[in-house]
Symmetry: C2
Subunit: 299 residues, 2 copies
């Protein structure tokens, strides 16, 4: 697969994801809640997690309907976490994806509720009734709910955010920093890969390979995020740059230095590619391109 | 079943629920998050929702392991909603169950995260891996996740809270007030009954009967809440009394008057009892007592 093939696959899949999000995040939710939810998740974001779900599903020759729903569910969890993370009691950010954040636009109460409702919606999307035309096996529904819940909760994303909160102004060593990010960002990225993989049936070796791939790109993503925070302007990022240093938050750049962080990102890219190669899976080219995308992105 | 039999059943079940919550809401969550989660859900609350799950499971001769997990899950959703609801950007309440609210004790950021993590944990509890000793059928896991997600999300609880938010200082007619409460409180109470029922296998008539019972007590609960808010002191309620009037929120008392609200509660109790009687189910005595408990409670 060359770059242009990957590119057209990606554009087609981004279209599918956008349509699925449009369908699932209804404007009909009462009292402006639907509007706030849509504002928080539509028309923005790189959709990296949905792409990982869909590419992993292909690698596992899995059920496309299930994977599309799973991709919507992980993106909803990601988007809700950004809404809550941006609130004044957390990071107090006013800019996200180049637009005012949800609480700036709709008020804090509505922002909190929109995030809460988006988390619930993620599990709703994963559990279609058997009568729905794009339904899928209940056992897979349960498996996907379990993977997502564990990645989103206290062992995963929410736990990582609690560590983040507690670490402001305190030095963290590389081990603790990695533990924080493995939970905060890594768990959901890895879960995206595993949820896609769960849509098919993989032998243990293939599953383990995708699990290690997911862990490596999960960490790589955060290392690159930390690099971009110091090297890019806010306009490119679509969010406030230099924020980590300003808030005295430990980052890979503050712990390893800029060059050390860049090396670390390359090492993790190689680890991801090596893990992919070891699984005995056929269709991993897109996952391989996605690992490059994670490391080479500039926003 | 007489009052003392019901009472000892209830005490035994409350013990089981408390132990299950103790087990599931681990203090190990990082950076104080576990402590905040436990503070928000342990040692307090009437546990009405768990009791409804367990009583409905008995009426459906269902899987006790599944129902116990379901009872933990609904209580987690309920407790998280209280934490978020009490925050300064929402109701700004400092007292809950006679103790300082979670954000007063742990700060707003940790309170928001604890609530977020508790919602995820609810779905984690519902999806045990097949290797776990008290696991249960994946198809039932998916069904329970679906019922809970729909009750918690924009069509249910979160949607009701958005309406609540938008209605402050505005007159609502009885129909709109009922719509708000059907979502805000009723949906999760009804889901508690239905999740318990789903743990067994009921014919359509039995399911419909429990569904109507759940809808009636869901509404009755809120009517009684509104009555207690004007008739009881804060010490009895364990939360700030007179809050609704102070915040200029429409309530059943403000719309129907105190006597009208009391009549409404009795009507809903009778509707719940009638629905129970129509289902052709055997073991509904505990559900019947629970309906009385909802209406006759004084806190």
């Amino acid at each position: 697969m060359d770059a242009s093939e990957f590119d057209s696959w990606m554009r087609a899949e981004l279209d599918s994801v956008e349509q699925a999000l449009q369908r699932w995040v209804s404007p009909d939710a009462p009292a402006g809640l639907g509007e706030a939810m849509r504002y928080g998740v539509l028309d923005g974001g790189k959709r990296l997690r949905p792409l990982l779900v869909l590419a992993a599903c292909e690698a596992a020759a899995g059920d496309r309907n299930a994977a599309l729903r799973a991709s919507v569910a992980v993106e909803l969890i990601h988007a809700y976490s950004l809404i809550h993370d941006d609130m004044p009691c957390m990071d107090n950010d006013v800019l996200r994806r180049g637009k005012p954040t949800v609480h700036v636009k709709f008020g804090q109460a509505q922002a909190m509720l929109a995030g809460d409702a988006m988390q619930a919606l993620a599990f709703e999307v994963l559990t279609p009734a058997s009568a729905e035309p794009d339904g899928f096996a209940p056992a897979l529904q349960a498996r996907l709910c379990g993977l997502l819940a564990r990645a989103a909760g206290h062992e995963g994303m929410a736990g990582g955010q609690a560590i983040d909160l507690a670490s402001i102004g305190r030095p963290l060593d590389e081990w603790k920093l990695r533990d924080m990010h493995r939970r905060k960002t890594g768990a959901l990225l890895q879960a995206s890969v595993l949820m896609g993989a769960a849509c098919g049936e993989l032998p243990a070796r293939g599953w383990e390979s995708l699990s290690q791939y997911g862990a490596a790109i999960g960490l790589a993503f955060q290392v690159v995020d930390d690099i971009l925070d110091v090297t890019q302007a806010s306009e490119t990022l679509g969010k406030t740059a230099g924020k980590d240093e300003h808030c005295n938050k430990p980052t890979y750049v503050s712990v390893l230095g800029l060059e050390g962080a860049r090396k670390q990102a390359q090492t993790l890219r190689e680890r991801a590619q090596a893990a992919l190669a070891e699984g005995g899976l056929r269709h991993t080219a897109r996952l391989s391109w996605l690992a490059d995308l994670v490391v080479d992105r500039n926003s």
